[in-house]
Amino acid sequence: MPSSKRQWLWFLINIVILAGIFTLVQYMIATRMLNQYYQINLASMCINIILAVSLNLINGFTGQLSLGHAGFMAVGAYVAAVCTKSMDLSFIPAIIAGSLAAALAGLIIGVPTLRLRGDYLAIATLGFGEIIRVILQNIEEVGGPAGIVGIERLTTWPYLFLATVITIIVIQNLINSSYGRAIISVREDEVAAEMMGVNTTWYKVMAFMIGAGFAGLAGALFAHYFYIIKPDTFNFLKSFDILVMVVLGGLGSTTGAILAAIFITVLTAYLQAFPAIRMIIYAMILILVMIYRPQGLLGNKELTRKTFSRFWGGSA
């Protein structure tokens, strides 16, 4: 809730901008100015933003290197798909069920693994992500290795837009609060944080759960957009893709994660025409970024109104 007049003004401007983007895209879809190809990439973009922003909460803000994000996405995708396909639930309850199931998976995996640090945690989460995939592969009720086919396409632009905006707002509001500062203090110095009265274990688990929950949301949207989900879609390469976005954008920068997710989606789309050199170019960009800007595009800074006004010598 904004407190001063000035904040109210910005709050309204933000709403107008968001409503404008939404209406414009909705109009372009309705009038078929955006063809199927663009729409698919738009959906991927939104899903990637949700994934990158939520992984950034775990890796960037909490400082816990997790490589199992695709596993949580899988949980959300499968639970939501089963809800709509076998249990005849409508879409919104299915999305909520998928997100909650992924958050629960985050809790179950987080409690034992978050005692580990750095590389050890990375390997443990990588392992857990793979375990989720292998379990799904062996459940015949959800199609085994073939996965679930014929999921109804329920994910539309309004859902994608709303889910993306909610993800960003929830995570930003969390980070810019006392709870967020507690989470960041874990990244900065766990021992000192603990000494200052911060229950570091709890905040690590909490961040892990929230991040996993949003990955589940992304999975639910994914399942209901692309008709088919199979365990192999959510292998560790997928986790890696998300990690690349976070590292490219800058660990600990939500706007960085958003920009990187958009950039990678567009890049992937354009390089689809050149499958042979696609991975080479992809890798080259990563190497160049790591050499010339190892902290990622935005480091741990955010793009805000202040940044823009500084650029244009504005009057803010």
Partner: protein
């Protein structure tokens, strides 16, 4: 009234006895020094009190309740705060945020209020900000609130660490070599500051220090630790003339 009562405290690292049968009693409101040569086990005592390590034997009673077995954040919530020998600030965060984190344990709003930006959040943040600035003002760091902690000069980082510890509203403040790396003038100012905060915040202070002018000048009582054992205790004057203490610091007199 006794605030901290350590009885028969022992700690072993592998076969090495770091502390053996340490007894240490601090009354409420006292300012006590803990000194001893390098490697005597001073910081180990601090780490045991604050829950970084668990004791192998003995008891640590704070306010007549045991501290053993509690996690460090619980001990902090009971009212024990500390600073570190090698400064451990949240280096990449602003000076203001460093203090705000210490205020988190008493946060007045719930997580959902933060996410929904409810009025309780706005009020809670305003009061956190006000209180954090209050602590920064005391330590003369108000002008630097937006600076990144690691960019402060060394002496100010030390002061910020004390400000952060105070922000947890402790009743017992433990300072691990607060004057390390300070010049004589800064040490002098720090002495004044320590005396002042004890009075202002009604604190009990336990400090480790190598700078004898600070220890002798500010502490009311001193414990001397050598090879994990308390070899002497008393008022500064007694300690200064105690032959065992002189021996521990300077080695045996040549006869």
């Amino acid at each position: 009234m006794t605030i901290l009562n350590i009885q028969n405290l022992s700690k072993y690292f592998g076969g090495l006895s770091a502390l053996a049968d340490v007894n240490l009693v601090i009354a409420s409101g006292e300012l006590v020094g803990l000194i001893g040569p390098n490697g005597a086990g001073k910081t180990t005592v601090f780490n045991l009190i604050t829950g970084v390590y668990q004791p192998d034997q003995g008891h640590i009673m704070f306010d007549d309740k045991p501290l053993e077995g509690l996690l460090p954040h619980k001990i902090c919530q009971r009212g024990v705060a500390r600073t570190f020998q090698n400064i451990r600030l949240f280096k990449d965060l602003t000076v203001l945020d460093n203090v705000k984190i210490a205020l988190h344990k008493d946060v007045s709003y719930q997580l959902y209020a933060a996410i929904l930006r409810l009025p309780t959040f706005v009020r809670g943040e305003a009061s956190i900000e006000k209180e954090a600035l209050h602590y920064l003002r005391i330590f003369g760091l108000e002008d630097k609130q937006e600076e990144i902690a690691s960019s402060l000069p060394y002496g100010e980082q030390r002061r910020l660490e004390i400000a952060r510890a105070l922000a947890t509203r402790p009743r017992l403040l433990i300072l691990d070599e607060p004057a390390a790396g300070m010049n004589p003038q800064e040490t002098q100012d720090l002495m004044e500051l320590i005396r002042w905060i004890r009075k202002e915040f009604d604190l009990t202070i336990l400090l480790i220090e190598h700078d004898m002018s600070l220890v002798m000048g500010v502490c009311e009582r001193i414990y001397v630790l050598d090879y994990g054992q308390i070899i002497a205790q008393g008022v500064p004057e007694e300690i200064r003339n105690n032959p065992r203490v002189i021996e521990a610091y300077l080695g045996e007199e040549v006869s």
